[in-house]
Amino acid sequence: MRAFEYTSPTTRQQAVELLAGSWDQSAVLAGGTDLLSLMKDDVVAPKRVVNIKDIRELHGVRFGPRGMQIGALTSLGELADHPLVRQHYPAFGDAVVEAASQQIRNMATLGGNICQRPRCWYFRSGFGLTPKTPEGKSLVEEGDNRYHAILGNDGAALFVSPSSIVPAMIAYGARIRIAGPKGAREVALEKFFVIPRTESEREHDLRPNEIVTDVFLPPPAAGRYAHYEVRQKESFDWPLVLAAVALQMNGNTVRSAKVVMGYVAPVPWVSEEAAQALVGKTVTEQTAQAAGEAAVSQAKPLSRNRYKVQLARVAVKRAILQAAQGKAEGGAA
C-alpha cells in the first residue's frame, strides 16, 4: 500500500473541506473493508485519506413518522440486530443479515455498502471500469465474463453493481442525503447509480468532494416485500443474482409493483417489464413466472454468462411468490 496522509475530521463540514476535487487526490474512509482492499491492490492510491468515523452525527438509526433515517456510518452489524429494521423493513433486514460475514458486518457501514466499488476482476486488477485490450477491444467481452452483466450492457461498462443490500433499499423507495461544498442534496437511491460510458465517469453520481450522510427509508406502505438471493456457496461471497420486490395490493390483485434485480447490470436494475406483468393480476405461480420471463426479456448475455438469465428469471419469480406469501427470506441455489 502506498503512503498517504491520514485525517480524522469530526464534522461533515470539515470532512468536505478535506476532500479534494479529484478522485486521485483524496478518498473517504468509513469501515475500510472495501477501500483498504483497493489500496492494497493499488487500484486506488489516494494521497489523503479522510476517515469519517469520528463524525458522531452520522451514526445511528432514528424512526419517526417520516420513516427510518439511518446515519451513513451505521454498521451493517447494528442494522442486522436492530429490532425496528426487522419489524418494519424485513426484506431490507434479510439483505443485511445475508451480506458478507460477521467480522465484515461489524466494520462495514451502510454508506460504504452503497458506495463500494464493483467486484469486476478486470477493475480490481487495475484495468478500469471499461477495460480494454491494447487494440481497443473489450477485455470483458473477449475474456472471462461469467459474473458480468446481462442487462444494461450495450455500452463499454459490463461490470455488475456490487451491493446486495441496495436493491432491497430501492424496493422500499430509499433516498440518500449527500453533503458537498455547496451544502446538502437529496437523491432517490435508484437515481444515484449510473452506467459509466467512459473511463472518466463513475458508477454513481457522487463527486470526489461529497459524502453520503444519511439514508431515508419511507414508512413502509402496507405492502409485501421480499428479497431473494442466489449464491454459489452458503458462506460469505457476493450473490450471483438477486431480486428484491415490493408489491402494493388491492385486495388480491397487485396495484403496483417494484422489481429490482442485483448483479445483472452495471446498476441495480429496476424492471418495468416485470412490474407491468404483475399489475392487475393476482399472484400465482403462473403470473410470477410470467414476471420472471418479462424481467429477462431484454437480456443479452455475454459469452460465458447465459446461466445468469435463468437465475434472474427464477430469482424474480421466487421473490414475488415469497412476497405474496408474506415471507421475506432468501435462499441458496
Binding site: E5, L36, M39, N106
Partner: protein
Amino acid sequence: MKKNVRIVINGAEHRAEVEPRLLLVHFLREVAGLTGTHIGCETSLCGACTVLLDGMAVKSCTVLAVQADGRSITTIEGLAASENLHPIQEAFWEEHGLQCGYCTPGMILCAHDLLQQNASPSEQEIRDGIGGNLCRCTGYQHIVNAVKAASRKMNQRQRAAARAAD
C-alpha cells in the same frame, strides 16, 4: 506523515508512532509483539487475523492501526482472564476443534463474538457465525462441536455464578 496512536491491547496500553498505512495485524504482531494473531490471506477472506475491537470481531488485516486509535483490542493472548484457559479454549481442546491450529485464534475470537450475542446458538447459527473463517484441516464439524460445548460451559458457569451470588 506518521501518527501517534494509543491502543489498549488485552488491558495494557500501547503507544507508538506509526505510518497510517500500517495494518492493525502488523501493529499487533510487530509493534506489540503479540504473534498469536495469524495472517493467512491478508485480503479479508480467511479470518485467521480475527481480533476483538471494542468487543466485536473484526479482520485485523483490513483495519489500519490508526483506525484502532483510542480503542481496545482483545487478541487470543488476552482472552483468558487468568492462568486458566477461557471456556472456549477449553472446549476447542476437548472437542478437537483444531489440528494445525493456524485458524484457531481467529475461530475462537469469532466464536466469542457469536456467543456474546447469542449464548445458545443452534448448529446453523454457529455455522453462519463462523462463516467468515476458513479452516483447511478439521472439516469444521469439530469446530462446530467445540462452539456448542463452549456455549454449554459458559451457560453452566453463569448459572453457577448466579447461584453463588444468591
